[in-house]
Structure formats: C-alpha cells, structure tokens
Amino acid sequence: MSDTPNDNAPSQSVYPVSSGDPAIYECILAAIVDNEPGVLARVVGLISARGYNIESLTVAETDVMKHRSRITIVTSGTATKISQIKAQLERLVPVRRVIDVTAESDAIERELALVKVEGSGEQRLEAMRVADIFRARPIDITHNSFVFEVTGTRDKVNAFIDLMRPLGLVENSRTGVLSIRRGAEAN
C-alpha cells in the first residue's frame, strides 16, 4: 500500500504539530490540462491560495487538435506535501493528469535563457570563451554587448549566469523548466 507516502507530514492544520524534520526536495510536476480560458489562473490560484512553493511555471499548448496544454511546475516540499499538491491539482476539472516527472528516473529537463552581457577587451573575449564551452549562441551582437541563448538543465543555466556575472551580466530572461520522458513512450 505505497500509493501515499506516510512520513512525518507537515500539517496544514492550525494546530501545532511536533514532528521531525522531514526531508524537503525539489520536484517537477507536469500537468496536462484542457487549454480553456482561465486554466492557468486556476492552477496559479490554487498554488497561491494553499501557500505552496513555486519556483517556476511554464505553459503552452502542446496538442492543438485536442486543445491540451502542458503546464510544468517546479516546486519543493516534503513527500507528503508534494503528493498533496499533486492531489489538489488533480481536483481541478480541466486538469487531466499530473505527472511527477522527478519520480521518473528517465526524465529529461531543459531550460532556455537569454543572457545579456556588456563589456569590452579581455572581458568580452572571456565571455565569448565561456559561452563557447556552454554551447551558448550569441544571437545579438554589438560592439560592447552580447545576448547569448543558452539551453540546458537549470544547474547548467545557473552556472552560466553565475560565470557571466563578473563578465558584465546586464540582465537575463528564462523560460522556466520543461521536461519530458526519454524513449519512445509517452506519459
């Protein structure tokens, strides 16, 4: 009977609970939803109303024929909390399915970022070299600036942005995480 984890649940009750410190982990949930007006507001409203953490959220229609969108949510919490978030999302009528992508060992995760760097001389060359190592493409170039496009896991994108900071980072824009399973099978 392992459907629902039974660790020391951090409770949402108004009453205090003394429990150990259950492990908190990060998790990627993918919600397959009917692409109808207000569906994003429903998902976001639920998350804020119930006080869940949310690190990123991306959404776009993925099946034009069936009007289905995929919402990818990066959140964190204890195992119990995450199964609670999943169950609450599944209560929403337009939500067809919620997949805990992290629970599947064969999931691929990608994020895209646009990173603007300003500088000249050695700094500029160093930015170019780092970008090369990260396979980031310059998609806009002026005499004193670059806009790089970089794709990868969040860790890779974070690392790239961190390295650009001393090299004249001006601003960045990120898509949030996308994910999908490896292999031929669909979720």
């Binding site: 007006p37 207000g38 639920l46």
Partner: protein, 608 residues
Amino acid sequence: MNAITPPPAQSQSDDQSAATQAGAVQKSGADLLLDALEEQGVEVIFGYPGGAVLPIYDALDKRGTIKHIMVRHEQGAVHAAEGYARSTGKPGIVLVTSGPGATNAVTGLTDALLDSIPLVCITGQVARPLIGTDAFQECDTIGITRNCTKHNYMVDHADRLAGVVHEAFHIATQGRPGPVLIDIPKDVQFESGSYTAKADAVARPTVAKPLMDDERIAKVVDMLRSARKPVFYTGGGVINAGPRASETLRALAHASNVPVTSTLMGLGAFPASDRQWLGMLGMHGSYEANNAMHDCDLMVCIGARFDDRVTGRLDAFSPGSKKIHIDIDPSSINKNVPVDLPVIGDAGKILAALLQKWQSTEVDSPCDPARLDGWWAEIASWRGKNSFAYAKSDSLIKPQYAVERLYELTKGYDTYITTEVGQHQMWAAQHFHFEEPNRWMTSGGLGTMGYGLPAALGVQEAHPDALVIDIAGDASVQMCIQEMSAAIQYGLPIKIFILNNEYLGMVRQWQELLHDKRYAQSYSASLPDFVKLAEAYGGEGFCAEHPDELDDKIIAMIKSDKPVLFDCRVTKEENVFPMIPSGAAHNDMLLGGAVTGEEISAAGKVLV
C-alpha cells in the same frame, strides 16, 4: 436575432427523440438554458432578478415549468438551495444577476464548497462586447468565484450553453460534490443556438481512480477483526453518499460491534438512539467520543477530513491508533493526519464491500466477540461523566433545556433542523438527536452566521408538509432575517427558534476564557422585538421567558401554519461544555463547572 420562442411542447426531458430533434432547432440562449435545466429535472430555482438575467426570467415566466422562489438577498438564495440539496440529495439551483447579485452569492458558494454541497449557480453577466470595460454591474464573477466553486464557466456562445449546463450538473454532483457556477453574458441569453442533450454533452471525470480493490477491503476487515479498541469516525461524506450508505454503516457497525462517533456534518447517518452511538466528537463533542478517538487502537474514518475542530492538537491526536481513511477525495488523504491505509471511493460502495467481506469472513472464522468487552467497559465509564449535563434551573430557561424540550415535543413529527452558527448550534448538536440522515443542516466548514433561516426555507420548499425548524441565535438570525418575507410570500411555514441570550454568545464564551472576560462588542444590544418583527412580516411570534411556559409555546409554534419567530429568552452567560480548548488534546477536555481560562495555553490562544 431570434425572438424568444416558447419551446415546443414535446421538447421535454423524458422524450429522448424529441430532445435530439430539438438539437436542430435554433432557440435563444435563455430557452436553451431552461431546456437543459428541465432535462436535468430541476423543479425549483432560488433566485433574484436583475438586468443581466432578464431574458432568463422572461423565459422562465413564459414557460411556467420551473418554480422560482424569489429570496430577499442573494446569499439567502444560495443557502436556501443548500438546504434544498442537503435535505433531498438533489442539487440546488440558484439564479442571480451580474455584479452585486454575484458578489452577494459568494458567501453561500464558499459555504457550499466547504461543506461539499452540490449546487448549480447561474449568474448573468454584461454583454460580451462590454466585458472588461467596467460596465454597469460588471464584475469579474469568474475570477471572484474561482476559488469558492468546484468549477465555473463563462459561456461565450449560445451553442455551448446546454452542454455546459449538463457538465455543470455532472461536476456538482459527482465525486466530492460542490458548487458550480455558470456565468452567462446577457447577449448570449438572446443569441440563438442549438441544444445539446444531456446524453451528448461532454462530462469530464471528477472522480479519482478508486483505490477500492479487494485487497484493501480485505485488509480493512482484517484490521477490524483484530482490533481491540476500534472506532468508526464518520462524517458528511456518509450523508452525501446517500441514504443507502447510512443503512450500510448501521449494518456494518452492528455486525462488528464497533462504536460510532461522527462529526458535526455527519449527524444522523448513525441513529442517536443506538447503543453503539458515542455522540458527536470534536471541540464540543462528548467525553466518550473524544476519549474513544484518543485511546482507540484502530480508527476508521469514513467520509470525514480530520478537520482542526475534530483533531485538536495534532501531535497528541490519537497517538496509539492505526488509521484507515475512506474518502472520495484523494486530496483529503494525509492532508492533516497521516494515515496507514487510504481507501478512495464512494463511502456507500466501500461500506457495502466491507459489510459483505465482514459477513463472508465471519462465516468461516467468527472473531471473538468478547475481545471488545474491555473497550465497551471503558466507554461505559466515560459515558458515566454525562458530559452534556448542565445545571438545571426552575426559574430560568437554560438553552440546553430549551433544545431538549424542542426535541421531545417534536418527536412525533417529520422534523428537519437547520441552525445558525454559535453556541446554539452546538447545543442543538448536543441535545437534539437525529435518527436519520438529511435531517440536520448546519454550516460546518465555513461557520456562516445567517445560514439557518434561508436554509430552512429551502428545506421547507422541498418538504412542504414537514416541520422545519431553524435553531437560531439572536445575532445570527439577523444576518438573513429578510427571508421571513420570502417565507410569507411562498407560504413556507418555517419555525425560527431563537435561543436569545442577548449575546454573540460564542464570541462571549471565548472572551470569557481567553480575554479575561473583556466582552468587546459581543453584547447584542438593541435587539428587535422578535414577536412584533414576526408579526410585521405577517408571521407569528412567540416569546417564552419562564420554563413553565416553554412547552405550551413550543406546541403552539408547532401547530402554527405560519412562519414563526420564537423568542426563547435563555440564561445569558451559559457556556458550551465540554470543550477541548484550542491547542489541547482530546483527552484534555474541559467539562462544565468552574473553568477559569488558565486551561488554555498561550500557544492555544492564537488559534481560531
């Protein structure tokens, strides 16, 4: 644009071919809506007109197929629909206008969401081209009600309207029931479109995959058979699962000899007169129910949700028990209390499977009935505390006594009870005893003052010959008192039995216990003369001030064929006991008598 045409006589629900045929016919949105409501078997709508729903009212009036009760405030319409739904098991229907009509309905919708009551609420909206322009009586109804409905819709074309209505009924009633709202712009009500029959409408699933496999059922029965201190903790889910679920609960409890307690919401699913009944549990529940919850070795929760009013302090909640949770909503599992074995599905079906498994296992290897003797002996000693007892008085009416007399004197009748919120609600739960489900309508989750009077209206509409009583408080009753006027208009002889303590009593009790008796703003000053008020509306008023006159006046109230306001003057500073103070454990109850406030910890005081 098509004028509104009366529907052809044959386009009624029971005639399948006629309904399909009607699919080709173009009709106005207003008529399509009513066609769909008729196909869903709607008999009555609780509502209030306004500019944005006039086409619907016009069509309603022309057809005369569905009765309409015009309330006096939209909150009243929603509560009335809730009363209708809870006493019949059918969804309640509400119709209100845009803007203020919709915002006035919000409290009722939230109430229905928290208590899982099936409703379909139709709101008018400004015409499509005006949406987003801050037009007259425009509000973002969909945005405002998103978090207080199970689902809501904006209908953008008349062609979609009937299909949406059918799905709305499906969502309101299937799985864990709840309120669904349909917002219809006024131009869609005029627009022509074609009908979608119920059979052709999309109905997205609202029920989670059941975890009710045979293995789980067998496991539950195993655990029940070996438990030495089991308890059934039942809730509103059993009522929502229909009368058969209550019957099965009784049969299973009797077969297994397990004691039964229930939440405020679940009263009536198990008969109060049964020897296995422990009384209500929770903050103001009985000593035996709360101690049984605390000391049990197996807790079987059926259609309840480990609400904070029930659990008290969570880290001391039933520390030694294995917990089984039977619920239709997977998100209820492990939300507040981690459980050992979840079983997801309809309470009625699961109870039936459990009963069957219990009986078939008993045939092969009956379990030792004596194993529960010790448990029942413990329960008997807790019962000996008589925790609902109170100090009697010869000269003053005690509120508990008033409810007791009301219970005794209404026994022979077909009685339904609603309540407002406060001390009177708890005394009603403690001293009025229910033998059947769907007889007790109270605002549990939201605790909405003003619920009881309009709810009684809805109950009376559904059960015209029944005796419908709202056990009310002097403060709560004034929150929707205007519905007395609707009661008169529609000849609904509801009885409003006010336990008048001249206080916002429950607030006063908390101030006594938590705020050193500083009664800030809890005195109900300037109360109206309820007898005159009743008469002003065209109803009948009674006032009882002395225990000696109480019975005769209650009898007169019962005999009256008019709506009644009964001003029952009770002792003013009575407290509800027993009480699990905020932040305390189940076995840490305050019984009546000398209570000082010291019992509540500093941490407890910040809790609601």
